[in-house]
């Protein structure tokens, strides 16, 4: 079976369009970020989150009412949401502050929440779990997350520059940064909390979104050796077309698992799975439209040069992109 057999799409022709579309999404994301901010998970923002399970069906409004009435300071700034399966009658109450960080009074706010719920007369409930994070922890985590992302990008750039050529490394890193920004934009649109799990998904994505890119780059390198008479533009297009099937299938299988996590993984993994789904889709898109295009931008109209592991040869000047030629599907000699 074959999908995308012998395609001859001129991907590079669409590179400007692709970049415009990406920028629109990124800028829209940034706009949302600027105006509404990005909701921070409790690990980063600090605060108190209590998950309670009621004995009978209880609405979010009832819980909010109880807090408005009896929680010191009322229900303002308090997030109340259903946790997990609605049939389980579980509600999460999140308050942005904690008891004093000094000494042992960190859990004071939690007690106040439970007290307010008890006074609210909603009915019996059981405390299923609590998470209380003091402000110092979040601060530390934020800088650590940023550093880890930056270092892992630098590491990938260095490795690809070493294995391929510098321009390829740049292409892969530009594509990865693109994926990061697009993912952040979607997180902002869909208002997912920036939690530890989401950061983990983002970091994982930076590693895996380069996979498709590397496959395409590998083919470009190989083709640069075999197609010395063709322009870089043409070589890149041919390479993307030749690898299109596997790019789509590999992303597809990863996407299947990410979707399974999204739909069946439960409340805790929701943000994580969402990030992975967006990351996998944008990773595929950027491998095809952004990564190789960056290489061609970076190298400009210079004559093609063979890949890092082949001797450099001069090739004829690049020709115009409109050339419709059957891509070479023949396997090249090893």
């Amino acid at each position: 079976m074959h999908i995308f057999k012998g395609t001859t799409f001129d991907f590079l022709r669409w590179r400007v369009h692709a970049i415009v579309v990406s920028w629109v999404v990124i800028i829209a994301g940034a706009a949302v970020f600027m105006t509404k901010g990005i909701p921070l998970g409790i690990e980063f923002a600090g605060g108190t989150a209590v998950i309670v399970k009621f004995e009978q069906p209880t609405s979010v409004q009832q819980v909010r009412g109880a807090l408005d009435k009896s929680f010191p300071g009322g229900g303002q700034n308090v997030i109340v949401q259903t946790f997990g399966d609605p049939a389980a009658n579980q509600v999460m109450v999140r308050v942005p502050h904690v008891g004093a960080e000094q000494g042992t009074s960190l859990s004071q706010t939690k007690q106040q929440v439970l007290e307010a719920l008890r006074k609210g007369g909603i009915g019996g409930f059981e405390e299923k779990g609590t998470q209380i994070v003091g402000p110092a922890v979040g601060q530390e985590l934020r800088s650590k997350a940023l550093l880890a992302t930056v270092f892992s990008l630098i590491g990938i750039l260095a490795y690809l520059a070493f294995r391929f050529q510098f321009s390829f490394g740049v292409g892969a890193v530009v594509a990865t940064i693109h994926d990061l920004l697009i993912t952040m934009a979607f997180l902002a649109f869909f208002r997912y909390d920036m939690s530890l799990n989401v950061i983990a998904a983002i970091l994982t994505m930076t590693g895996f979104s380069t996979n498709d890119t590397i496959v395409i780059f590998d083919r470009i390198r190989e083709n640069l050796r075999g197609m010395r008479r063709d322009s870089l533009h043409h070589v890149i297009n041919a390479s993307i077309n030749q690898t299109l099937g596997r790019t789509v299938i590999t992303s597809g299988t990863a996407l299947l698992t990410a979707l399974a996590l999204f739909f069946f993984g439960g409340e805790v993994l929701h943000g994580f799975a969402f990030t992975m789904v967006v990351g996998i889709i944008t990773g595929t898109y950027s491998s095809v439209f952004i990564a190789a295009a960056t290489v061609s931008f970076w190298r400009g109209s210079a004559p093609t040069r063979a890949g890092a592991h082949a001797p450099a040869v001069s090739a004829p000047a690049p020709q115009q992109p409109q050339r419709k030629q059957k891509p070479q599907r023949k396997a090249r000699a090893s």
Binding site: I51, V133, V137, A148, I249, L261
Partner: protein, 528 residues
């Protein structure tokens, strides 16, 4: 052919070993199969987020440890000056690392400097302008004390938790001054905190003068006399009133001199804690008690006088702490005394309770998502690659088993993100097979033989796979570095998943192809 046989033997051996490590113990405990204890012990452990329990992050107030040493040195100098008859106006400690001596008479300046040499080891002495000397703790001593106090706090917490009998606790230092405590299976966070966090500092001090209901009444000219301390305590009537005792600042005996402490009862059959002093502590206490017969001895616990019995005779090694305790309080108190005092106060930075049902929910949804994800991949691979899809599925199952075995072997902990990592590893793991199969297809279309195509497919894709795996490993390494707890579990899963994937997608899958082709010389078609 013998080459192929060896490959098969290697693969089977690897499979059996990892199956025994990773999968069999789980099956054994689930279906009550016989299994040796050492193997059961290696069983893949569940993280706190799946098992339920208490997670605490504490910060050690290392300044406390510095203040303690500064106070001690200051008192030593005070004693020294008193015995040498060097009068000074005032000795005080403005903060945790400095103390100041004022009004040293010019005539005894030289004598003062000699006396002060005693404390010079840990402190730098200031210039002594106008007879005022400031002693500052040396920076390296400060650093050592801070590090030591964190280590000591961790060890004390470890001892207390071990006494408490929590199964598989995890207590680890995190950063410069933080301690991470994880107590699986514990749900009463407040009790856990009271055991971990209370200082547990026992001091026996001689009471100077009569106790009083007000602090001010004990002061001389509105000040606490030098070398003395005023400590609150429970009123003798047993009601809620507080009375104050003036005691010597330096303790006759502290908790460090204890050999053991246990729950007992006093003469009125009320719960009490009995303790035995060490030889050294007994000698000290014997001396102090014989010199102070007829005076009161304050038994001070965490800065509060519990009782102040009158010394009637010389006491060598045995003592008892009485007060209005419940039996639970007595049990907790003797536990804390046995495990020693904390060197410094603790702040709670983070606390998390995961109820057992919450953990069970997470396991259920994690397993459900894994099953669905794996099922989808298997169906797709069989549908798209036909017989070769079987090859990929076998490689996938190998990958799963090896990953489980590796994680069990290194004692990794399975967390909820770890389960997610597991599913993702599988979803991304088949990518390697896809890349190889697509390449083989390409080679077949170029009208090469089946055997040649398979070989070319594996050979050409090897370096691509190598590169993608290294790039992924780079980001996983930083993920591990960044993460704590569950995230680390996730990173570990991904790390080993990537490694075992290289083995299964290349070595196992190729051997399977070779097995399928067998000895046939001429193979014309491949189901792919």
């Amino acid at each position: 052919m013998s080459n192929l046989r060896w490959k098969v033997v290697t693969i089977l051996a690897v499979f059996v070993v990892f199956f025994a490590l990773g999968v069999y113990p789980i099956l054994a405990s689930r279906y009550r199969l016989p299994s040796p204890g050492w193997l059961q012990e290696k069983q893949l452990k569940l993280g706190l987020d799946l098992k339920g329990g208490v997670h605490l992050v504490l910060r050690v107030q290392t300044d406390d440890a510095l203040r303690l040493v500064t106070d001690q040195e200051m008192e030593r100098l005070r004693e020294e000056l008193r015995t040498k008859n060097i009068p000074v106006a005032n000795i005080s400690a403005p903060d945790s690392t400095h103390f100041r001596v004022e009004g040293v008479p010019g005539a005894s300046d030289a004598a003062f400097r000699t006396a002060a040499n005693e404390v010079q080891a840990n402190f730098d002495r200031g210039s002594g302008l106008n007879g005022a000397y400031t002693f500052s703790m040396k920076p390296n001593i400060q650093q050592n004390l801070r590090d030591e106090s964190v280590v000591q706090a961790r060890q004390t917490i470890e001892r207390r938790i071990n006494e408490l009998g929590v199964a598989e606790p995890s207590i680890a230092q995190q950063g410069a001054d933080q301690i991470l405590v994880q107590l699986p299976g514990v749900s009463d966070i407040e009790h856990a905190k009271s055991i971990i966090g209370s200082p547990g500092l026992l001091e026996l001090k001689i009471v100077e003068g009569a106790p009083s209901a007000s602090k001010e009444a004990l002061m001389v000219n509105g000040q606490i006399p030098q070398g003395m301390d005023i400590v609150p305590g429970v009123g003798s009537a047993g009601d809620a009133s507080t009375i104050y005792y003036m005691v010597k600042k330096v303790a006759a005996v502290t908790g460090q001199d204890l050999r053991s402490a246990r729950a007992s009862v006093d003469e009125n059959n009320r719960p009490a804690v009995s303790f035995t002093l060490s030889n050294e502590g007994g000698r000290k206490f014997g001396k102090v008690s014989s010199e102070n017969i007829g005076r009161q001895l304050a038994i001070i616990l965490d800065g509060r006088v519990q009782s102040a019995p009158t010394l009637e005779s010389k006491i060598n090694s045995e003592g008892r702490i009485t007060g209005s305790f419940t039996p639970e309080e007595v049990a907790d108190l003797s536990l804390k005394l046995r495990s020693g005092a904390l060197p410094a106060k603790l702040d709670y930075l983070e606390e998390q309770t995961i109820g057992p049902t919450l953990g069970a929910d997470s396991i259920r949804s994690g397993v459900a998502a894994s099953a669905v994800g794996l099922g989808l991949i298997i169906v797709f691979m069989l549908f798209y690659y036909r017989a070769s899809g079987v090859n990929a599925v076998v490689a996938l199952i190998f990958n799963l088993v090896i990953l489980l075995g590796m994680m069990a072997y290194i004692g990794a902990v399975m967390t909820l993100p770890g389960i997610a990592g597991f599913v993702l590893t599988m979803g991304i793991g088949v990518d390697s097979n896809v890349l190889i199969f697509e390449r083989i297809k390409e080679e077949l279309e170029a009208a090469r033989g089946v055997r040649a195509s398979i070989n070319a497919g594996f050979n050409r894709v090897f370096w691509t796979l190598f590169d993608t795996h290294i790039a992924a490993l780079i980001s996983v390494a930083f993920l591990f570095q960044f993460g704590t707890g569950p995230i680390r579990g996730f990173a570990v899963t991904l790390f080993f998943g990537l490694i075992s994937n290289l083995f299964t997608s290349i070595f196992v899958s190729k051997t399977l192809f070779e097995l399928a082709l067998g000895k046939r010389q001429q193979v014309t078609a491949l189901s792919i």
